[in-house]
């Protein structure tokens, strides 16, 4: 079984490389130093991961004879592949934002880890395509959906980060009390994160102490604003993919199942996801609903994507049952 051995090796390499990358990310995050060597290492590591996952997908494609989108395992691998593409795109962009990559790396680890975990072992061997999946729409629909999920997950994770960072203010609103001490502790991490941004500007070090807090506030505010804008752009992009994915799914359903809309649970949840992110885009239009509200909506979207992607499959409901946990 050359195929399974190869697959095994590729999975393990990518998994271990990603876990090393995560530790490097944590180190740079905590130390806050711009060590060029480390960043190069990150980039190279992600290139290795990318090629491993690509190899994994290509071998599966060659050995099964169809696009590797036929079950949950394959779509999870594809999800981590799109995450790594995202990482690469950001790496090769002129303006680097490593905090974005810090969010993506654990995402790759989790999806990769989940896909290769014992939970889905029966699924590792590739299956023949069931009749309903034998269509050219498979590529369009699944790739667009997964791409949309990836982009939206990244964007909504940024929003979650904003919420975590600004959570302190939320607590201040509710009044300071000892019970929140624990939370303050956990915020120190977030503070480190935005202080790293300050380090990059090399202003903090030159600033005398009395101005420290105001400068900190200024950069903190800038950091949040940056996150917010990045999140908005990412989610808008993901929304395009999700729209195209949903529409291609509807057109495909009209070819295969007899109607472009069946209120199948998976369809319904994809539509709910779409609605939630449409709400997100609309909250940005309103001055009164400031970034925190839109972040809350996006964080809800984060949960809803997972319900849509895994939750519905977990229940094995409806016509999309080939994506479920049990092999058909």
């Amino acid at each position: 079984m050359v195929f399974s051995t190869l697959e095994h090796i590729l999975t393990h390499i990518s998994f271990s490389v990603v876990s090393i990358l995560i530790s490097i990310h944590w180190i740079t995050l905590l130390l806050g130093n711009e060590i060029i060597g480390l960043y190069n290492l990150l980039k190279k590591g992600m290139i290795i991961t990318f090629f491993c996952i690509t190899g994994l997908l290509v071998t599966r494609w060659i050995f099964s004879g169809h696009l590797p989108f036929s079950n949950l395992y394959e779509s999870l691998i594809f999800l981590s592949w799109t995450f790594s593409i995202f990482y690469m795109v950001l790496c090769f962009k002129k303006k680097k934002n490593y905090y974005f990559n810090t969010i993506i790396t654990p995402s790759i680890l989790f999806t990769q880890g989940f896909a290769t975990s014992g939970l889905l072992t029966e699924m590792h061997e590739s299956f023949k395509l069931v009749p309903a999946l034998q269509s050219h729409w498979l590529m369009m629909h699944v790739s667009m959906m997964i791409l949309g999920y990836t982009t939206l997950l990244c964007g909504s994770l940024i929003s979650v980060a904003i919420l975590v960072i600004t959570f302190q203010e939320l607590i201040q609103i509710f009044g300071k009390s000892k019970t929140f001490f624990f939370f303050y502790e956990s915020f120190s991490f977030a503070e480190i994160k935005y202080m790293n941004m300050n380090d990059k500007k090399n202003i903090l070090q030159q600033t005398p102490f009395p101005f420290y807090s105001s400068y900190r506030n200024y950069y903190r505010y800038q950091f949040i604003q940056q996150l917010d804008r990045w999140g908005y752009r990412t989610i808008s992009l993901g929304f395009i993919f999700l729209t195209i994915g949903n529409i291609s799914g509807a057109v495909w359903a009209n070819e295969a199942w007899g109607s472009y809309w069946n209120w199948d649970p998976k369809e319904t949840w994809a539509f709910i996801t779409w609605t939630i992110f449409a709400i997100y885009l609309h909250t940005r239009k309103n001055k009164k609903l400031e970034y925190r509200n839109s972040s809350i909506v996006a964080s809800m979207g984060f949960l809803i994507i997972w319900i849509c992607y895994l939750g519905i499959n977990l229940l094995g409901l409806g016509l999309h049952s080939y994506g479920s946990f049990t092999p058909n």
Partner: protein, 566 residues
């Protein structure tokens, strides 16, 4: 944090106000570089404002080498092509639809009241919080619809959601049945929410978005450095010329308009207008969905191979607009139903060979359909959706053939199992025994003797007899029946048009509408700009572009002017 929210939000009403104040630019484009003096002083603006011009590709700034070329020339054609018909004189006439609207309001009588009511309704419907709340409500109802089992009998809900043990302390079957949540996606509550969403879409498109088109198509100049500095991005370039800035912006794909010392440039206008298209596309999809719901027919039928049926007998109207057509008289004959298998034995595809015959019995169409490849004829679509085994054809001791009807057996899981029974011995005795035959698909039949013991497996058409309890059984054929879904749906073209428009406009919506204003004040150029989406990239892009603007040393001024005219 308040400052952040102010910067973040784009207020669509904001441009309205300064459009009123700013004299509208005369859209008469004349390329006249010689008559246009190289203005560096503010007071020249008054003299020059009747002679507007755009910069041509011939205009070269000293350091700007990359930005010359075709794209620049094309831009000029573009900006000439789309000037809005507005001059300084008809500011009041051309000033959007607001003016006539307000005059209408002054009218008294019942019409005025009606008008006010209409305006009030529109105002409420187009409010953003309402739309957001409505979308949340729709999402919540849909989620609820996937958690509550749909389309079951009332008894099911009475048992599942009993009154003595309500979910969340209040949710019982009474709620479900009263609100129609047992058929959520056609319940009045859900449809009402959708209708409200549609109404608010329409109101928003009408009151907010369509006026936006007329407003954003116009270009405006800012005449004070103060106003420019207030923009999200602002910069001042000492010893620079506004013409150079214009050329560079043009090279970067901006539409540039120059009037005296003022410059206005924009890019990605489509990105601001596309959301209007998104809303219209959504309305199209909703309209198509309504037509589908009201005017379609559907039906499903399981036809054994070799039999036929009439389309009109199967199709059931789904709404009040459904009206049968000529094609409903077509008779469909199932010539053959068969499956393809992978080497591993799994089904790879189902096929049904169908013949369509008209009233006179003449064949009008013949096609082999499969999953993902339906048949379309006269507005009717026939899908391959299901299958079953209808009969086994056997020879018993070379007698027959007999057709044994197969019955589906209830087993756990989704796998299908069909069985039939061939009695052996006295049929009239109370405990009749016989041979059982079971089949999962059309490939192989498992046979058991009358004691229930496994005897063997035979393939149809294998011509290999099997001996059970003294009788020789030969399985001649397994006859499948094809499960077909039929439908007519007049809404599909509308919905597809909406889908296409939705995809395109959503993609265009990603474009960011950037606007740049610049003002020459002495030798300094003040530049300010804003963009509605790409707020991260915009300052970077601006800084990159402004780095290219050449610095002017006083003595080289005449030379600069030469290069402009040349």
């Amino acid at each position: 944090m308040k400052a952040l929210s102010a910067i973040n939000s784009t207020n669509p009403c904001l441009p309205n106000t300064h459009f009123l104040k700013v004299p509208i630019f005369h859209p008469f484009f004349k390329f006249n570089p010689f008559s246009q003096p190289y203005n560096v002083h503010g007071h020249a603006a008054n003299r020059a404002h009747k002679l507007p011009f755009t910069i041509s590709c011939k205009l070269k700034s000293s350091r700007d080498v990359e930005n010359k070329g075709k794209s620049v020339a094309q831009k000029i054609v573009l900006s000439e092509a789309s000037p809005p018909p507005l001059t300084e004189d008809d500011v009041t006439n051309g000033d959007t639809g607001n003016v006539p609207q307000s005059s209408k309001k002054k009218k008294g009588g019942p019409f005025g009241l009606l008008n006010m009511l209409r305006r009030k309704t529109l105002q409420i419907l187009s409010s953003l919080p309402l739309a957001i709340a409505d979308m949340f409500a729709a999402a919540a109802l849909m989620a609820l619809g996937t958690f509550i089992e749909q389309g079951e009998a009332p008894d099911f809900y009475i048992q599942k959601y009993p009154e003595d043990n309500p979910v969340f302390g209040f949710f019982t079957w009474r709620w479900i049945l009263a609100l129609g949540f047992d058929h959520m996606f056609s319940s009045p509550v859900f449809l009402g929410v959708l209708a409200l969403l549609g109404a608010s879409l329409m109101a928003c498109t009408y009151t907010t978005q369509l006026p936006l088109i007329t407003v954003s198509r116009r270009w405006s100049f800012l005449h004070s450095a103060e106003a420019i500095r207030k923009q999200e991005f602002s910069e001042s370039l000492p010893r620079a010329s506004i013409q150079d800035v214009g050329t560079i912006l043009m090279g970067a794909g901006y539409e540039v308009f120059l009037k005296g010392p003022s410059l206005y440039a924009f890019k990605g206008l489509a990105g601001r207008l596309a959301p209007v298209g998104v809303h219209i596309a959504l309305l199209l999809v909703m309209a198509g969905g309504t037509v589908s719901a009201a005017g379609s027919f559907r039906g499903s039928v399981t036809v054994p191979q070799g039999l036929n049926f009439v389309v009109g007998d199967v199709l059931v109207p789904s709404g009040f607009l459904s009206s049968p057509t000529e094609a409903f008289n077509t008779e469909i004959h199932v010539n053959r139903f068969y499956m393809d298998y992978y080497e591993s034995g799994e089904v790879s595809q189902f096929y049904t060979d169908l013949s369509l015959r008209n009233m006179d019995g003449k064949e009008v169409m013949r096609k082999t359909i499969s999953v993902n490849d339906p048949l379309r004829y006269g507005g009717i679509t026939i899908y391959q959706t299901d299958w079953s085994i209808s009969a086994l054809q056997i020879l018993k001791d070379n007698e027959g053939p007999y057709n044994l009807a197969m019955a589906p057996l209830q087993i756990n899981g989704d796998k299908k199992l069909y069985g039939t029974f061939l009695p052996v011995g006295d049929i009239n005795s109370p405990d009749v025994k016989g041979i059982s035959m079971l089949a999962r698909d059309l490939q192989s039949i498992v046979l058991y003797d009358k004691e229930g013991k496994f005897v063997g497996v035979r393939r149809p058409n294998s011509k290999l007899p099997i001996n059970i309890d003294g009788s020789e059984i030969l399985i001649v054929d397994a006859i499948g029946s094809s499960g077909l879904d039929l439908k007519t749906d007049p809404g599909v073209p509308v919905v597809y048009a909406g889908f296409g428009a939705l995809m395109i406009t959503t993609c265009i919506s990603y474009l960011s509408h950037s606007q740049i204003w610049a003002l020459q004040d002495g030798t300094t150029v003040f530049i300010g700009g804003k963009t509605n989406r790409a707020k991260m990239e915009f300052p970077e892009e601006m800084n990159l572009l402004l780095d290219k603007v050449p610095e002017i040393v006083e003595s080289t001024l005449p030379k600069q002017a030469d290069s402009i005219s040349g």
